[in-house]
Every structure is written in structure tokens, then in C-alpha cells.
Point group: C2
Chain length 211, copies 2
């Protein structure tokens, strides 16, 4: 059976989004700087259907973290804004061909029919909570991994429930000073560093979690 993984960019002071998140600024003020290192890689650009980019250790890490992913589980806010009934014209932030290319399970309180996108991505909407979403994702992924890209609260739920097996932190050398923290309300997981890879842009640490 595959593992449940997460890989996420985090500032050196522990934030995964800047302050004042909004529809116009979904990862908060300054938050986009957390992802610049990824945007610059060949791996990210290939996943998003654009060419070019750097072939460096950061690109290799991004290749590795998605290589064996058979399904994703994400929170509602990562899929789209709002909290109530679905606006059925909304199909995610990523256009017609999202960068996932496998089934994605979106946590929500509001049922919605699956959305089949181009390139292998299907968004499935799960109303039974994180455990049900992971169960469905595991079934879809088979022997491959289930990755939980975010948001922070969804990752926290996974860690707190003892359901996350591996966490890649991409530690970006910026101080955001405020915003949304990743590692709070997560209980007391036991972490073990499995790998560490550095570049001038970011430091990647892979942890195994146990509980």
C-alpha cells in the first residue's frame, strides 16, 4: 500500500501563507514568494504544461515528490473560494488541464458531482471528512501514494489524526512575519528526518512521521 505524503513550501519562520488571504490574494501578502523556487524549475513547468525552467536539485526534488502519487486529497479552500453551496461554474484555480493528472478528492460539506478535467485530473467531492477522503483516495491510488497538498488546516487534520506518513518541508529563506502556520494544532507527532537536500533557493527536508 502506498504512503500518505505531503510536500509544502514554508518560510523559515514557519508560515505556509502570508497574512490577509483573499480571493485576489489566495496565499496572502508575500505568500507567492514561497513558491518562486518551484516556478523556476523544469519539473513544475512540465507538470503545468509549460516548457523551460531550471534542471537543478530543486527540480529533481519536485520530480521525486510527485513521481509516485496516485491521488490527491485537498481542502475546499485550496480548490476554490467560498464556504457555502457550490458555484457550479467554478472548476478550480488551474484552468482546463490542472497539474494533478490523477484523481483529486476535495473535502467539502456540500455534495457535488465529480468534475472530469483534461489531462487525467478528476475532482471528486467528499463530504465524510478527512478519513473518508483518504480512504477513497487510497482506493483510487492503489499501490501509489496519496499526497495532501493543502491547505494548512487539512494537513493539520491529517497529522493530528495520525494519518500522514511523510512530510517534505521546502524551507524557503524568507521571513514572512505573519500569516498561516503549518505546524500548530498537530498534536505531538514523532518526526524522523529521512533526507535533506539544499540549494541556494530552498532547503528540502523529508520527514517520516509516526504517532
Amino acid at each position: 500500500m502506498g504512503r500518505v505524503t505531503c510536500n509544502i513550501s514554508i518560510s523559515v519562520d514557519g508560515f505556509v501563507a502570508g497574512p490577509n488571504q483573499s480571493l485576489e490574494d489566495p496565499i496572502g501578502q508575500g505568500g507567492m514568494r514561497l513558491h518562486q523556487w518551484a516556478f523556476d524549475t523544469a519539473s513544475w513547468r512540465a507538470q503545468h504544461g509549460t516548457g523551460g525552467g531550471e534542471r537543478n536539485v530543486d527540480s529533481e526534488v519536485l520530480d521525486a515528490v510527485v513521481a509516485d502519487v496516485g491521488a490527491y486529497v485537498m481542502g475546499r479552500n485550496m480548490f476554490g473560494p467560498g464556504r457555502g453551496e457550490w458555484d457550479l461554474s467554478w472548476s478550480g484555480w488551474w484552468g482546463e488541464d490542472p497539474p494533478y493528472h490523477v484523481p483529486v478528492f476535495v473535502l467539502t460539506h456540500h455534495p457535488r458531482e465529480p468534475l472530469v478535467m483534461q489531462g487525467g485530473t478528476t475532482f471528486n467531492f467528499v463530504t465524510g471528512g478527512i478519513e473518508q477522503a483518504l480512504e477513497q483516495a487510497r482506493a483510487a491510488a492503489g499501490d501509489r501514494n496519496v499526497d495532501v497538498p493543502g491547505g494548512a488546516q487539512t494537513i493539520q487534520q491529517c497529522i493530528r489524526a495520525g494519518l500522514l506518513d511523510e512530510l517534505w518541508l521546502h524551507i524557503v529563506p524568507i521571513v514572512l512575519g505573519a500569516g498561516e502556520r503549518l505546524l500548530e494544532n498537530v498534536g505531538e507527532p514523532v518526526l524522523e528526518p529521512l533526507d535533506v537536500i539544499g540549494s541556494p533557493a530552498v532547503t528540502h527536508i523529508k520527514y517520516r512521521l509516526s504517532h
Copy 2:
């Protein structure tokens, strides 16, 4: 001229001390776990005049961070408890032969004569603030570095004032959940990762700071 450096153990969720610090528990509940990796090294034990310990990459990092230190600057709370006039019977937490072996400059609001200890350590008490303490420490260190071991508020002052050149974070794979954070109220320093070294116990990242 030497650099102003800091090296400090920090939990993966950003704390350098646990909650509820007290005279009996000066680094807070659970805070001692931040330092266990260091206690286990041959380098730490040699600095503290005890034998044995592991000769591993963590020990090599500790050797490197103290190799070129010619003076230290520390906050009053790191030297001893209390805030008012000095109890002259107090000579630090470390016994007759403290692990510094060079001049140490202690920030305080209350003048006190220098304390000459065994093994090369002299504690000097500076009432003119962080800039004056660093100036005196630089003069004492000559071409060697000045290290700022703590506490957190003293390190924050240095970063905020643009006076810290290098920061080694020893990221310990534990979640403390509460306590004293290192990287808050530090302004917006520009960090550049210079080196990253991992072991099963801890991940060391060396940053260059500019402002």
C-alpha cells in the same frame, strides 16, 4: 574582521524554548529535548570538559561553529535568573569552568565587575545595549568571530539591528507546540542558505544574513 554568528537549536515548529520557563526549568517544559543531539556529541562533551560522546556529523558541525569564536555576547537571562541588582554569589549556570573559554559579554541594566572564571572564560557586564556589547566583543575577538548564543530576545535584537551575519539553525525533529519563538520581531532580513547538513537527530542549515 570576524563575523557575528549565532547557532541555536530550534524545534521544527519554530521554538527555541518550551513553555513555562522558570528557575527550575530555564528552557521551559520539553525544552531540554532541543539539546539532546548536542549532549550526545564528542564536541559538546569536550567543550564541557567531559569525555566520550559520538564523533558524527553533528559533532563536526558543533566543532565548526565554535572553532573560530573569539568572544560571545549573551542576554542576561542566559547568564542567570532575575532582573534587578546582581546577586554577586551568582557566577552563571556552568560552574567554575564554563564552556566558553573566551571573553563573554553579558547584556544587563546593572553594572558589575568582570568575573574571571577558569579555563579562559571571563564574564564582562555591559550596560550600553547590544551595539556596545558587540563592539566590545569584536575588539576582544580580533579577527575571530563573535557568537551570540542567546537568549531568543538577544538574537532577535541582533537580527533586527542588522548586526547578525550568519545563523546556524539546528532544526530538531520535535513539535513543542508552545514556548519561545526565535524568528519573530526580526524585521525582514534577507537569508541565503550556505550549507545544509543532515543526521537522523537534527538538520543543520547555515544562513548568511543581509539587510
